[in-house]
């Protein structure tokens, strides 16, 4: 760990100003991932901008939906009455992640920004295009049990490790970003990116920008939502595969479906084709199996993670069955 300046910010305005000025600065909120990265010399910002005093801890209902400040804590949201009642999928996903101690520290913005847990990324003696562009991908022919089956290429097969992100992409969330000059809004689904030719970049946030808010529009999925997380131990383990499922039902007919996966791609992975297939169908095992099959189109294993090609559809089926209260 090398020396760095530590600046504590009092306002959003002063924060974006500082971001415009210091291009290699990093913001710190809960620090539950950043500190690990600094300790292991994966990242070495010369300036650490503490944003914990900024007034972005709110969770409130608005006309457009639920507004969540970027500094709202994961545990705060998971315990929030509105979240529990109207967006239980988000609460379930958050509670499936990390440990209570980490959820008490981790913010929404920080969770969105957490980096992959690929072990080659963390070990500075190993090749990794994400950490050090053009050094190669250690995982490609290495230990890749945790790695991507969708949208990867030989540059990088790392996955986004978040559970929260999977629920947010399923719930059509939007993100509000701000720099010193302007605010912009984008679909949560467009925030994270695939590795492509720039695996060093996880998302589209510019270095002079900060996340200020997450917006979740109203929906009718609260009665039929489920989050499945399949992992190697029953808590405090990253997903091998996770699935967020939300169904809007009219009797036994699916009016609307939302389906997303975690632990399978460089970004939270929305299953649009499967959603479209489900729309208008009756809830039953066969329909769900077919949706899972459609969801798996284009999936590719890299050796150790080949089992995900079987585990993922099984997990989708489980999530849909549970969301539909069929099991």
């Amino acid at each position: 760990m090398i020396n760095f300046d530590y600046i504590r910010m009092q306002s959003v305005k002063s924060t974006v100003k500082a971001l415009a000025k210091f291009t290699d600065a990093k913001m710190i909120a809960g620090g539950s991932n950043l500190i690990d990265l600094m300790k292991r010399n994966v990242t070495a910002p010369t300036k650490l901008i503490d944003i914990n005093l900024l007034p972005l801890k709110y969770i409130e209902q608005s006309k457009e939906g639920l507004r969540i400040g970027a500094l709202a804590l994961n545990s705060q949201a998971a315990d929030h009455e509105i979240v529990k009642n109207k967006f239980p999928l988000l609460a379930m996903a958050i509670n499936a992640g990390a440990s209570p101690q980490l959820r008490n520290m981790a913010s929404f913005g920080g969770n969105m920004m957490q980096r992959t847990r690929c072990t080659y990324f963390y070990d500075t003696s190993m090749p990794c295009n994400k950490r050090e562009p053009n050094s190669g991908c250690g995982a490609l022919n290495g230990i890749n049990r945790m790695h991507a089956i969708f949208g990867a290429n030989d540059n990088c097969i790392a996955v986004n490790p978040s559970d929260m992100n999977v629920a947010l992409i399923a719930l059509d969330a939007q993100v509000v970003l701000l720099n010193a000059k302007k605010e912009r809004k984008m679909a949560f689904a467009d925030f994270h990116k695939l590795a492509e030719d720039t695996p060093n970049l996880d998302n589209h946030l510019q270095s002079n920008e900060m996340i200020v808010e997450i917006l979740i529009p109203e929906n009718n999925f609260s009665k039929n939502s489920y989050y499945v997380k399949v992992r190697d131990r029953n808590s405090y383990a990253f997903a091998l595969v996770s699935v967020a499922a939300g169904l809007e039902l009219e009797g036994k007919t699916i009016k609307n479906a939302r389906l997303a996966m975690g632990g399978v791609a460089h970004k939270p992975w929305r299953l649009y084709d499967a959603e479209n297939y489900l729309q208008g169908k009756e809830i039953n095992t066969e329909t769900f199996k077919e949706a899972a099959k459609i969801a798996m189109k284009g999936a590719k294993g890299y050796g150790h993670n080949d089992f995900k090609l079987d585990l993922a559809p099984a997990s989708i089926l489980e999530a849909l069955m549970k969301a539909a209260h069929l099991s």
Partner: protein, 733 residues
């Protein structure tokens, strides 16, 4: 004379419990010494080769740095290192910074000593090494042909591979990856040279005398000039059975700088610096008649060791005597790889070997269409099949019945994949465990003071099981005292000698020493009484109670006795050891583990729902501590069975999961309710207190019981630990 065999199990709390949970316990990295310096180790990043350049200048110039130590400047400053050209001393401890050779990835190659920990960490990051790499080998499966036989001779009883001639037989391969030592307390040491000739070490160790001998040996010193102190050890499980290079680095660094030095490993460093349960491949061939009489067992094992030591454990030993079987042959081989040295881990050898044997027994029982318990009882050994001696005591059969009853074994439908509950597949499994019940020489001192308080002393360390409570319980029973009247002192070379804590020996050894010392103290009281009052009473006239004793209706307090005799205190030291009984009997502790699992029918995720352990460990001295120790073993066993594996990237020979996020020790959510049942019958021959020890059998057999339960739940037999859901592949029917 009353016998401690009548000892009533006592629910005494731990002597160190409150201190441990309130931060009052001082561990080896927590001693505050004036002028303390901080050591941080730099490690090799290649698995095999030669260090060609070690760039230390930047680090030496960094703020606060006092010294950078490496093979470049160690020279001949350590007499024991200079004595010979071996890379190890005391048989298996690698000399630190001895030469430019790298034997495994993660080997310590330099020590930075600085005035603060942070500055040492920073300076360590500035050290760069260049290597001349050589081809390394870390893959067991690909190096089997290079194996050696450490014990020279294979074991053979009657006919070799006789299982093949049986009516029903099974051949199967079993495998497990490295289980890394990860106790809560990291490897740590504080070394303080009070003068050039006098060293005090606050050490993470399971045996203070082993450490003392080693450190004294480094400099050819008299052992009495080295004091090793370890009153609290935050778990060890075998990792601290001998010293490691990091400890040498601290002792040598402190000697060279003439400053006290503290060195604590990081969690990542633990993966290559304090040993592990080695990866082992096993073959079992086992055969029986149609009605379930065993005919032959073949058990071959290949364990991993380093290139610089033949680390050996008793992997196949249990198979030789666990069951009555006319033909048994075993073979144990080592595969020397470019990895750090393994060390014993809880249930060493047997935990690995019993995984194979007890899974194979389950598999063969299934083939025979027999209940797994009935099959085991049919082949129950009452005479030790290897040396034809009787057991001192063996109540394994009672363990089977106790456990089976508790978990509802006989209510299970034995057909695989036949039971469900809450939408989950349900499985019940069981397996047995065995471990040597030893007894080493140990000495205890008991001191009665003028206030009627009793102090018990022994150099034994307490690595977690509650040894202090055990010592107290023995004394409480001997004197019929309350816990509050007794003080325990342990973990210091200045105290009376005791063996290293390990191998389920402590209660049997030290407990007996305390018992003998207490008896001797009572005899001495009789003597003092007779002298003081001019009487001729005999021992049997004395009835001891918590305040003192009663002689034919007259009461005397301990306080009064000492006052009358004009004594400040009364002290007795006694050594206690085994005798000729060891030639007449075989001594073993036995356990049976029963587990109930849920397996998700779609994803294959496993949840252990219930564990019942029944065990024969002789007399249970402190039931609460014994129960806790069993629970600890079960937790470790769940890790071994389901989650723990040190994963190498063999291209580089490095671990890819050397941290607590990626190396999965079980968490609370993985642990079900655990029932512990004791047969609790004293062993009549092992020692005066009848206790056999249970630290090791707590884990032995747990992993196969889970593997067997998963088979029962799913019909899928996984012979490779840990049993992760991709190996179950529940979706593959």
């Amino acid at each position: 004379m009353e016998n401690l065999l009548n000892l009533i199990p006592d629910d005494t709390d731990r002597t160190d419990g409150i201190l441990k949970v309130t931060g009052g316990a001082t561990y080896s990295a927590e001693y505050k010494i004036e002028g303390l310096t901080y050591g941080v180790l730099v490690q090799s990043t290649i698995a095999k080769g030669k260090i060609t350049v070690l760039e230390t200048k930047k680090a030496e110039g960094a703020p606060g740095v006092i010294k950078v130590l490496s093979h470049l400047n160690l020279n001949n400053s350590v007499p024991r290192y200079a004595k010979d050209d071996n890379v190890t001393i005391d048989r298996n401890i690698q000399k630190v910074f001895y030469n430019d050779q790298v034997y495994f990835a993660g080997q310590p190659i330099a020590l930075v000593i600085a005035d603060t920990y942070e500055r040492a960490v920073y300076a360590a990051s500035l050290i760069k090494a260049n290597y001349q790499e050589e081809k390394h080998h870390t893959y067991l499966e690909k190096n089997l042909e290079n194996s050696i036989s450490p014990e020279g001779k294979d074991y053979l009883r009657n006919e070799k591979d006789a299982y093949k001639n049986s009516e029903v037989y099974l051949e199967a391969e079993y495998h497990q990856l490295n289980n890394i030592h990860n106790p809560m307390e990291l490897g740590s040491i504080t070394a303080n040279w009070e003068s050039d000739e006098k060293l005090t070490v606050y050490d993470k160790t399971q045996g203070v005398f082993g450490s003392q001998k080693h450190y004294a040996g480094l400099y050819g010193m008299d052992s009495k000039n080295v004091r090793v102190i370890a009153p609290f050890v935050g778990g060890a499980f075998g990792m601290a059975l001998h010293t490691w290079p990091y400890q040498d680095a601290a002792v040598i660094g402190a000697k060279i700088t003439k400053l006290p030095l503290k060195l604590m490993l990081t969690r990542m460093q633990m993966f290559t610096m304090v040993g592990y349960r080695p990866e082992t491949k096993q073959f079992i061939g086992i055969g029986a008649s149609k009605d379930g009489v065993l005919n032959g067992i073949t058990h071959n094992a290949w364990g991993v060791t380093s290139t610089y030591d033949n680390f050996t454990e008793g992997t196949v030993g249990g198979t030789q005597f666990m069951y009555k079987c006319p033909n048994v042959n075993t073979q144990y081989k080592l595969v020397k790889l470019d990895v750090s040295n393994p060390i014993w881990m809880r249930g060493p050898g047997e935990a690995t070997g019993m995984f194979a044997l007890e899974c194979a027994m389950d598999e063969l029982a299934f083939k025979l269409n027999m209940d797994p318990i009935a099959f085991r009882l049919k082949n129950y050994a009452t005479v030790h099949p290897v040396n034809n001696l009787p057991w001192s005591s063996k109540f394994l059969d009672e363990c089977y019945e106790l456990g089976a009853k508790k978990i509802g074994w006989y209510n299970r439908n034995p057909k695989p994949k036949s039971m469900t509950e809450d939408g989950m597949l349900v499985g019940y499994g069981m397996a047995s465990g065995v471990f040597n019940a030893g007894r080493g020489a140990a000495t205890a001192r008991v001191i009665l003071d003028e206030n009627g308080k009793l102090t018990i002393q022994s150099a034994i360390t307490d690595i977690g099981p509650g040894t202090g409570v055990m010592m107290k319980s023995v004394a409480m029973d001997s004197f019929k005292m309350d816990a509050i009247q007794i003080i325990v002192e342990l973990g210091d070379t200045n105290l009376p000698p005791a063996p290293t804590q390990g191998g389920s020996n402590t209660t049997s050894s030290v407990g007996s020493a305390v018992y003998d010392a207490c008896t001797a103290l009572k005899e001495k009281m009789v003597e003092v009484y007779n002298q003081s009052f001019g009487e001729q009473k005999v021992y049997d006239d004395f009835k001891f109670n918590k305040e003192g004793f009663n002689i034919k209706g007259k009461s005397f307090s301990y306080v009064d006795l000492l006052k009358k005799a004009g004594l400040k205190e009364l002290e007795v030291t006694r050594e206690s050891r085994s005798g000729t009984e060891r030639q007449k009997y075989v001594f073993n502790s036995f356990s049976v583990h029963f587990t109930k699992v849920h397996v998700h029918p779609l994803t294959g995720m496993v949840k252990v729902k219930e564990v019942v352990c029944a065990l024969d460990a002789g007399k249970i001295i402190s039931e609460k501590q014994a129960r806790s120790q069993m629970i600890g073993g079960v937790v470790g066993g769940i890790g071994m069975a389901l989650t723990e594996e040190g994963v190498y990237d063999h291209r580089y020979g490095v671990y890819t999961n050397n941290n607590f996020a990626d190396y999965h020790v079980p968490v609370h959510a993985d642990i079900p309710p655990i029932d512990v049942l004791f047969v609790n019958k004293p062993d009549p021959y092992i020692n005066p207190i009848g206790a056999k020890g249970l630290g090791e059998v707590s884990i032995i057999g747990l992993a196969p019981s889970i593997a067997n339960a998963i088979f029962h739940a799913t019909g899928k037999r996984v012979r490779d630990l840990p049993i992760t859901l991709d190996k179950i592949a529940i979706w593959r029917d």
